[in-house]
Symmetry: C2
Subunit: 256 residues, 2 copies
């Protein structure tokens, strides 16, 4: 097993990494995902997937053998200062994988779905992916204008949920025509109370832009509008918090 060592800022692989770390759209362009930190790497392996490159800090050689990866996986040691430059986690995560981004999937009709309408915040998007995976959703569809699903911050907040979900992004509302699912939206001021409603399953839960909410056209297409009880008054919920509440309500209703 050979380990290459990179100590030059101008190395081609390092340049790729830098783009992946800094540009949310680079993953799709390069066809690569930068999975940083032990947790994400372990989550990938748990799905039976292999990286193409194992990258670790020069000072942390034990990672070369930590997971019994086959010899076909390229091992690269990066000078610690260079790794810090492509890290969103800092020194706590001296290891990461490069993994080929899965080919763009197609929407699957009739499967439990979350639909994201122009969500901006990568932390919110990642948290919703994580809740979706935990609560029995199979696919997440992101309309054009939503944060890039494979961006490092979304991956970090997703904590491995990406690997268990069918992810489709860059969609236009017209692409949803064949989805064949009741569309559930939340509203802060109208609709049936979520905790009293009979929720269809499978369904597609719709979550919208942090400031503007779901677009009026999509809202009009919803078969159910649900309202989350907020006895604390006029305050609103963060969209990822609202999503967790809705997805949990769906989950426990079908558990009976």
């Amino acid at each position: 097993m050979n380990t290459e060592t990179i100590r030059s800022r101008d190395n081609a692989l390092l340049k790729q990494l830098r783009r992946l770390a800094n540009d949310p759209a680079a993953g799709r362009e390069l066809g690569l995902v930068w999975l940083e930190g032990e947790h994400l790497c372990r989550a990938l392996l748990a799905r039976g997937q292999l990286p193409t490159v194992l990258l670790r800090a020069e000072s942390a050689p034990h990672w070369d053998t930590a997971w019994s990866l086959p010899p076909s996986v390229r091992r690269v040691a990066l000078a610690d200062s260079l790794l810090a430059g492509v890290s969103g986690l800092g020194s706590s995560a001296p290891v990461g994988f490069l993994w080929p981004l899965p080919a763009a999937a197609a929407c699957q009709p009739g499967r439990p779905t979350v639909l994201l309408d122009r969500l901006q915040d990568p932390g919110n998007v990642g948290s919703i992916l994580r809740s979706a995976a935990a609560l029995g959703i199979e696919q997440v569809l992101a309309l054009k204008g939503t944060a890039a699903l494979w961006a490092p911050k979304v991956l970090r907040a997703g904590m491995g949920a990406h690997f268990g979900l069918r992810l489709v992004e860059g969609l236009h509302p017209d692409d949803l025509a064949g989805l064949d699912l009741p569309l559930l939206a939340t509203s802060s001021h109208q609709g049936q109370w979520l905790h009293q409603a009979a929720l269809p399953w499978p369904c597609a839960w719709l979550f919208g832009h942090e400031g503007q909410g779901v677009s009026p056209a999509l809202l009009a297409a919803a078969s159910h509008t649900l309202r989350i009880a907020q006895p604390g008054g006029e305050e609103s919920l963060n969209v990822a918090a609202a999503a967790a509440i809705c997805l949990h309500a769906s989950a426990v209703q079908r558990l009976g």
Copy 2:
């Protein structure tokens, strides 16, 4: 009404702002909160509170008169580039308030409570404050080691929830002795299913460190351990997502 204009990087007020923007602990030290952006400013005024200073971009003079503040409020225009330097929101928020940090409150026994045990991420803390305020919690108690509640990132994620809650921070577990509330904790692998449990009210919901969870001593003191159903498999939930689910469950159970 007079407006001062600041164009020097060395201005004393600007130096204070810079500390408040960059050091999460500065708020408590200076006894000041930096509320950035229209939404937070409006939320403060909605509670009948007044700022001591209105700060706005030099290019946005309409903010001087936007809220009919009394003349006693000091008006300061900051050169746009200087305001950008103390902004977490960028050019989208050319206005903010300086507001005197409320004196440290004492725990109130018997009131609906959220208890934070060493939560690290300011976004999570802010999101939980927001859910707490919306879902009928009255006070949030933060144990030593939790992110500073009045830090800019927590304020931003809280979206005004801070002004509707009794906030107590820097607590030691011993300080909870007189709380006189059943303590509810979540667990990923044991306890009663949340959606089947009879939940006491008022109560104190306990949420712990993102990686380590609630400390064993506190967990042992909990009167109820609840488990959130996760039919998606072994994935876990983000702590703010779990908090939203638990607080919503409490809220709808007492709504009946």
